[in-house]
C-alpha cells in the first residue's frame, strides 16, 4: 500500500497492509508534526504532493527493499493538506521474518522517501509567517538530477 491521503493517519492502515501470519516482526515509523522547528514555534504545517508520482516512487522504494533484504511487505502513507501539531504526517510499516532487517528496511524507506518522493512542506509559524521548507544541505544534493 503506497498512498497519498488527506485523511488522518491512524497507523492501523499500514500495519494491516503488511501483517501476515508468517512474518513475526513488524516495524513501524510515524513522523508527527512537532510544536517547533529549530526552536521557532510552529502553528501548523501544510503538505503538498504530486500524488501519482509520489505513489510510484514509494512503490520503487519497496522494490529496492525487496532487492536488498528480500522483504516484500512494505506500506507507506503520507498525508497532505493542513496538519496540526501532534498529527501524523507519514507512516511506514515493514513486516519481515527477521527484526534486524525490518528495522533497517523501515529506516531505509524513510531516508529514501525524503530523497525521492515528491512531497513538499509549508511551515506556518506561530508568528503568522509562512514558507515552503527547503531541505537541508544533504538532501539538496540528493537525488541528483536525472536520477
Amino acid at each position: 500500500m503506497f498512498k497519498i491521503t488527506s485523511e488522518v493517519i491512524t497507523g492501523e492502515e499500514v500495519r494491516d497492509a503488511v501483517e501476515t501470519p508468517d512474518a513475526g516482526a513488524v516495524v513501524l515509523f510515524f513522523g508527527t508534526v512537532r510544536n517547533n522547528t529549530g526552536g521557532r514555534a510552529t502553528k501548523y504545517l501544510e503538505y503538498e504532493a504530486y500524488p501519482p508520482m509520489a505513489e510510484k516512487k514509494m512503490s520503487e522504494i519497496s522494490e529496492e527493499i525487496a532487492e536488498k533484504w528480500g522483504i516484500d511487505r512494505v506500506a507507506m502513507i503520507h498525508r497532505v493538506g493542513k496538519l496540526e501539531i501532534g498529527e501524523v504526517s507519514v507512516a511506514v510499516a515493514v513486516a519481515s521474518p527477521h527484526r534486524k532487517d525490518g528495522f533497517k528496511a523501515c529506516e531505509y524507506a524513510m531516508n529514501r522517501l525524503k530523497q525521492i518522493v515528491p512531497i513538499w512542506k509549508r511551515e506556518v509559524w506561530a508568528d503568522g509567517e509562512a514558507e515552503w521548507v527547503k531541505p537541508d544541505a544533504v538532501f539538496f544534493e540528493q537525488p541528483e538530477k536525472g536520477e
Binding site: E48, M53, K56, K114, I116, I119, K145
Partner: protein, 84 residues
C-alpha cells in the same frame, strides 16, 4: 504537440498556477519548457539548479525528449516525511 506542465509548492506559488498545457514544436525537450518559463519570469532560472524535472512520473534531464500528451513537472527539492 501538446504537453501538460505541472507546478508544485514554491513553483506553483511563483508562477501562480498549478498546471498548464503547452504547445511545443516537434523535437522539443524539457529544456524547451524551462527556456519558455524563463522568458516569462527570469527569476525562476535561479531555482533550476536545485530543482528536478519529471516526465510521466519519472525523473528526467533537460535533454529528455518529449512526445504528445507527456506530463511534465517541475519538482522543487522534496521535503516530505519528517524533519527528524
Amino acid at each position: 504537440m501538446k504537453v501538460t506542465v505541472k507546478y508544485f509548492a514554491v513553483c506553483h506559488e511563483m508562477l501562480d498556477r498549478s498546471e498548464e498545457v503547452m504547445e511545443l514544436p516537434e523535437g522539443a525537450t524539457v529544456r524547451t519548457i524551462l527556456k519558455r518559463l524563463e522568458e516569462e519570469w527570469p527569476e525562476i532560472a535561479e531555482f533550476y539548479e536545485v530543482m528536478q524535472m519529471s516526465v510521466n512520473w519519472e525523473y528526467a534531464t533537460e535533454d529528455t525528449e518529449l512526445t504528445e500528451d507527456d506530463e511534465v513537472a517541475l519538482i522543487p527539492p522534496v521535503t516530505g516525511g519528517t524533519d527528524v
